[in-house]
Amino acid sequence: MLTYEPGETVVHDLDPRSKLAVQIGFAATALAHTAPRALLGFSVFTVAVLALARVPLLRTLYAYRFALVILAVGPLVAAATLGPPWIDLEAGLATALASYRVLLILLVSAAYVRTTPVRESRAAIQRTVPGKPGQLLGIGVALIFRFLPVVQSDLRTIRDAMAARLGTERSARERATTIGLLGLSRTFDRADRLSLALRARCFSWNPTLPALAFSQRDLPALGVAVALLLTAFL
């Protein structure tokens, strides 16, 4: 699984907003181009980012295995044709190039995930999205981070209990209904206790935000982000 890991790399030191800007710029330009020469440039950029952030390539590819399946199957489906000559290489190649850039986009975003703790991302959201929506988004993301293991363990308990009661013998619809119903009622119970706790702690629209500041190191990253964004229009 791909998660944040503390480290000393240049990418760790950047402000999360510059890193987000680079990702957006890269995604924009990668979605706009599929020419082989452009893809070569994107590959060099991706390798540089992965090296700077010291992202382990194989583990990252494994984390995105579900996406990789479609990216591998896509070109095959595109190349297959009904009737002679059965295989349309040109269409397959076009899809293969298009799939490859998606892989690069995933790898560049993996560098962000690996180098940015959730609290910094949260601060970036709350400082970038204005007003109450930004507050709710930031706090909501922090709550999801906090409660994810709790809800996962709830689900495990439910599935264990189902397995102990021969749940695997039941129909798929019945199993989905049971997981949905029990999962939801447990989760909503937690939510109701959480809302009481939030009110007891004066949950407000204007709390003091976590600290976050651009530094000189961010200038090159922001420059790269703008350059990438502009190449999308070439």
Partner: protein, 193 residues
């Protein structure tokens, strides 16, 4: 760090209640992501996530249902392992399954609007079953329309190729999820916000 010095602007009790439920439903949506069964020749594995997208619209209504899914997408974007196969990252939101993911908030909002006819929620157990089914089927069409359309554009596939890869294998699973959602709502064991 600049300390906030203005008066405390408390969040209303109703909003806190709805927000807490939206945030935790988003968590649940992320927590069921690992329960994914990959199937051959198909991109997105079968997951229960769409079931909870349905339930977000049915139980939280058009406003908070949409908020809940947006929170889920934001959490995935910054790297929490909430997408299918426990993946995360901004790249997933423009990747091959991005069309499906971006359709979720719209689908939840659409279900909420059709079933509740506005932001005042009514008990979905009292709404006629055909209406609930129509809302869920419409939402499913929206999800697959956006998912397949985006995949076809992104990977430069013909439309029917994208439908073969991204929609056909899932139809039995979707019927099952609609049936489960209706059963959950009609049990009346879960109240709306």
């Amino acid at each position: 760090m600049a300390t906030e010095q203005g008066d405390v602007d408390l969040v209303d009790g109703d909003v806190v209640h709805a927000f807490a439920r939206a945030a935790l439903l988003a968590t649940l949506l992320g927590a069921v992501a690992p329960i994914a069964i990959p199937i051959p020749f198909s991109p997105a594995p079968i997951t229960l996530q769409v079931l909870f997208v349905f339930l977000a619209g049915l139980l939280l209504g058009p406003l908070w249902g949409t908020v809940s899914i947006l929170l889920y997408l934001a959490a995935g974007a910054i790297g929490l392992p909430v997408f299918a196969g426990m993946a995360g990252g901004l790249g997933v939101l423009v990747g091959d399954s991005a069309g499906y993911l971006w359709s979720y908030p719209l689908a939840a909002g659409l279900i909420g609007l059709l079933v509740h006819r506005g932001t005042d929620l009514r008990d979905p157990a009292e709404v006629s079953t055909p209406l609930v089914v129509v809302a869920l089927v419409t939402a499913t069409v929206l999800i697959y329309g956006m998912g397949v359309g985006y995949m076809a554009w992104l990977l430069e596939l013909e439309l029917w190729e994208a439908i073969t890869v991204g929609a056909l294998p899932f139809i039995p699973g979707e019927v099952l999820k609609i049936a489960a959602a209706v059963a959950i709502v009609e049990s009346g064991r879960i109240d709306t916000i």
